[in-house]
Every structure is written in structure tokens, then in C-alpha cells.
Amino acid sequence: MTAVTEMTSMPSAPATRRTPKATFDVVFRNASFLAALLVLVLLAGIMLSMVIGGWPAFREFGLGFVTSSVWDTQNDQYGAWPAIVGTISTALIALVIGVPLSLGIAVYLTQLAPPWFKRPVSTAIELLAAVPSIIYGMWGLFVFVPLFAAYVQIPLSNVVEGMPIVGTVLYSRSPSGLGIFTAGIILAFMIIPFIASITRDMLEQIPSVLRESAYGIGATTWEVVRHVLVPQAGVSIIGAIMLGLGRALGETMAVTFVVGNANRLSASILDPGSTIASRIANEFNEAMGLQLNALIALGCILFFVTFVVLVIARLLVSRVKRY
């Protein structure tokens, strides 16, 4: 609106009428078009650089690069399997913990919070997203990990030791607190703000007539959420979850701090492991030759996995509103 007032006050200034230059118009239009095209070029460039950079490793090991569990820098043998499993399992643990929390927060913000309390709570949740990933790593490593080892991991290991299945999945050989599960917990808190704030916006967009009519026939708040709101926002909530998954898959610093960076694959989710991103962050600066190609090839796998996840997420979310 400021523009309007400024334009009406123009005549009082000395009339210096500029004839608009046609060249500026063309230049501006083309410059902005090129800038927009650059977005496409960037994505294509990232994809190409990953494929080309990782090509020597793919050529050397073929499909074995994905399925092999060996990561031997001495003999130049590289396999991505432990890192792939680590990436997927940390991300899934993050979803299992983070999704219920996020949905609970979204429901609280839209249905339960007193009006004056909504804004500070929303801001606090969104600030969780602003905290740099490395700070989550510090918090995880120096505050959360010791507590987790002492109060969860060691007691749990004592209880499940020797039990079938549970004794393998939940038993930790070195109860240091570091591991796949710890990384999943930290990741859960990192993806909460994204899932929660999108879900909140989705729930807010649902016409209140729907809610009111459900209340009108005697539904409780829980029933309104379960039978009216969730089905209405269902697809976009799944989109929001996929968006969180995309974040969790590629998160680097926080995971590198707490995942334990073990190269072997363990049957227990409480044991140290590594993810694609953590391995790249750990080894990249010392890597040479084929190891460097293998790390970029890992990045290539990460790129295609997150790309597919994000495409699905965007398609689902965009049905309602752009995010």
C-alpha cells in the first residue's frame, strides 16, 4: 500500500519524465528468466556431479557396491550396505518417535491451546527448527548420550540379555549411549517442527463448519480429531511426514556426533552404526582416490533416495497448499 501513496505524491516532484527504455525491459525479463532456469540447472548439476563423481566406484564394484558390507580403506574395497541400512533405520526410528509427537503438537495447537498461548508455543516449536544441526549434535553427545546410556541402555541390556529376538535387537554390546537408536531420537526432535507446523496449517485450513457439525452431534474432541480432521487432512499429513523423512535421511552433523560411526552392521538398534551422511562427513577430508569416489557414490545413492521421497512428499502436500 505504501507504493500507492508514493505514486500519488509523484506529481509534486519536478516532472522528469523518463521514457522507459525497451532494452532494460528485455534485459530484466531475460535476467529473471535465467535466474529461474538456474534452479533447474542446480538440481541437474547436483545429480550429474554425484553420478560422475561416483562413477568409478559404481563401475569398479557394480551392484556389489550397494549390497556389500565391506568398507576397507586398506584394500580399497567399498560397500554401502551398512550405511544404507543405518540411514534408513535412523530415519524410521525418527519417524516412529517424531510423528506421534508432531501430530500431538499440531492437535494441541489447533484444538486445545488457549488462544493467547498459541503464538508463543508455535514460535517455540518453530525455533526448534532454527537450532543448527551441530548444536543438536552437541546436546546429543554431551547431555543426552550419558543419560541414555545410564538410564535406558544399561538397564535394558540387563533385562533383555539372553532373550530370543529382543535379546539381539535391543541388546548393546558396548553400552556407550552412542548408536542408531540415539541418532533416531535426536533426529525425531529435529523433524518435529517441520511435520508439526505443516500439519497445524493443514488442520487450520479445514472449514470449521465440519468441526462444528461434528461437535453438534455430540462428538468428543478426540472423535472430532480422529474421524473428521485426520481424514480431511490425511493426504497432506502423509506428505508432511515424507518431508520429515527427507530431512531425517540427509541430516548430517547431529547424526555424526551420536551415531557412533561404526563401519560394521549390527543386529541391535542400540549398537553404533553409521549413515550415508555421517560416513561422508567423517571420511571425506582424508579420502583419496577410489575412497573419494566411493563416498561421492554414497552421496549419489542418498541423492536419489531423498529425491524420490521429496517428490512424493511435495506431490502429496501440494494437493492442499504449497509448502
Partner: protein, 300 residues
């Protein structure tokens, strides 16, 4: 009119404690209560974690913070004392380099989407790809810049770091610019065009002006986003313990990578500095985000 003037709550008898429930089955009542308690509990858990992290930073970081933190350079292995001056300045340089690269590109691209491309298939594609870049893992952007700028020039540089941060910032700026331009009412553009102004003049002196606050917010948000990025800098600007060269060639010290390297180092002064650095960086970023939020609220 007289019937609607009564508020719904006032018709309920206040004396009965469970009047609102009527004859609701106890199972439904319990489910409802449980959901309310769980949702509230989850929300407070998330807020608790935020304050736990902030509390940790203040407790551990404030002790390491002194004047020397801002005046001395990062210490080498086994050296006493030291500060973070070079890392802080390096971070500021890299972040602003990133914003300097990203702002013109992001603003122009967002402008094209909102003003020229609009609903065309190409614009929709660019919008979609931009949204994907927005949440692409930053480590991949670091690798990309490594491949195109570090490997060919045989060395880490601040320029590569700035470009990496810029690439992370571009989608944020594109997105907010387009959103903000879309909020500008069409008649404003038509009024400009009616005065005989070509599209470029209408955009630069009418639309941009009307959307200025929102666009600045987008740039601030991008600034907050890239200021704490660590992963892409490991492969591009790296780090060092000295004042970096003004040409930005070679490793440029920066706060996030310094924190990463110092946090789990065996030297006590390094750990102290890592905590002090964490406090500085987090508080700056949270402050930036809050300021950006204020501007958005003010412009509405």
C-alpha cells in the same frame, strides 16, 4: 437476534461438575481425556527440549565466553587460551558471501515465477524443483560444490564455501519472494501498467516496493538458515587456526566447523571454545529468526 446473543457457555448450568459430558459413555470420555493429556504432554516435551538445549548452551557456554573469545584467534593443538575471532569473522564473511550470491538470483527467480512464468508448465516445474532443493540434504550441496569448485582448483577456498551456502539460500529466497509478490494485489500492477510503465518498471518500482518487508524477511530467514550450516563447509571452506587470507583462497576458518572440530577434542580450552561458539552462533540465529518473524507480523 435475541436468541443468538446468548453465548453458548452461559446456557450451561455451572453448578453441575460434569454437566458438559451429559450421558457420554465413560470409554469415550476416557479416550478424549487421554488424547488431551497426551497432546498437551507432547507439546510440553518439545518445548522442554528446546529450553533444555538453550539451558545447556548458556550453562556450558557462558563460562567460556570472555573478551578473548572475540579478540584472539583459535588456538593450535596443545596451546593455551585462544579465542574465536578468526572463526567468527570467517563465518560472517562466508555467510554474507552466500547471501550476496543468493539474493540477486533468488529475488530474480522468484520474480520470474510470480510475474512472468505464473501458471505456465515451465514455471510449475521450476517451482516444484525449487521446493525439492529447499529440503535437499545440505551435505549433497557441499559435495556438489566440492566437485565443481574445490577439485578443479585443487584446494579449499572461502569462495567455494560461499557458493555452497549461496546454493542453500537460493531456494529459500526464491520461495519467499514469490509468495510475497503473490500477495501484492493485481490492481496495483494494472495501475502501474496504465501509466505506461513497461513490466520491468512496474515490477521494480511498484511490486517490489509493496512486497519489500516480506522479501527482506525471506533474506533474513535464508541468513539464519545458512549461518549454522556445517556439513557443506567441511568440503568447501574447511577451517584453519589462523587468520585466513583476504583472497579467501585456502581454508577459511568458520564457527560451525571449528565447533565440530573442537567439541570432541582432548584439549579443555578447545572444548570450552566449542561451547562458547555454540552459544554465540545459536543465539545469533534464534535472534535473526525472531526478528524475521517480527517483520512478517508487522507487515501484516
Amino acid at each position: 437476534m435475541t436468541m443468538t446473543s446468548a453465548t453458548p457457555g452461559s446456557s450451561m448450568p455451572k453448578s453441575l461438575p460434569h454437566a458438559e459430558w451429559g450421558r457420554v459413555r465413560s470409554g469415550r470420555r476416557t479416550a478424549d481425556r487421554a488424547m488431551k493429556v497426551i497432546a498437551t504432554g507432547f507439546t510440553f516435551l518439545a518445548i522442554f527440549v528446546l529450553f533444555w538445549i538453550l539451558g545447556m548452551l548458556i550453562v556450558k557456554g557462558l563460562g567460556g565466553l570472555s573478551l578473548a573469545t572475540f579478540t584472539q584467534v583459535t588456538p593450535g593443538p596443545g596451546t593455551e587460551g585462544g579465542g574465536l575471532a578468526n572463526a567468527i569473522v570467517g563465518s560472517i564473511v562466508l555467510t554474507f558471501l552466500g547471501i550476496l550470491i543468493a539474493t540477486p538470483i533468488g529475488v530474480l527467480a522468484g520474480t520470474w515465477l510470480a510475474e512472468y512464468g505464473r501458471k505456465s508448465p515451465l514455471a510449475n516445474l521450476i517451482r516444484f524443483i525449487n521446493d525439492i532443493l529447499l529440503s535437499a540434504p545440505s551435505i549433497l550441496i557441499g559435495l556438489f560444490v566440492y566437485v565443481i569448485l574445490v577439485e578443479p582448483f585443487r584446494g579449499y577456498s572461502g569462495w567455494a564455501g560461499g557458493v555452497a551456502l549461496g546454493i542453500i539460500a537460493i531456494p529459500v529466497i526464491v520461495r519467499t519472494t514469490e509468495d510475497m509478490l503473490n500477495l501484492v494485489p493485481g490492481p496495483l500492477r494494472e495501475a502501474g501498467a496504465a501509466l505506461g510503465a513497461p513490466p520491468s518498471v512496474v515490477i521494480t518500482s511498484v511490486t517490489w516496493r509493496a512486497a519489500k518487508a516480506g522479501m527482506v524477511t525471506g533474506i533474513l530467514l535464508a541468513l539464519a538458515r545458512i549461518a549454522g550450516e556445517t556439513a557443506p563447509l567441511i568440503f568447501t571452506a574447511l577451517n584453519n587456526n589462523f587468520w585466513f587470507s583476504p583472497t579467501l583462497v585456502g581454508g577459511v576458518s568458520n564457527l560451525p566447523v571449528t565447533i565440530y572440530q573442537f567439541a570432541s577434542a582432548p584439549y579443555e580450552n578447545w572444548q570450552q571454545l566449542a561451547w562458547a561458539g555454540s552459544l554465540v552462533i545459536t543465539m545469533s540465529i534464534l535472534l535473526l529468526s525472531i526478528i524475521a518473524r517480527r517483520i512478517v507480523r508487522g507487515s501484516k
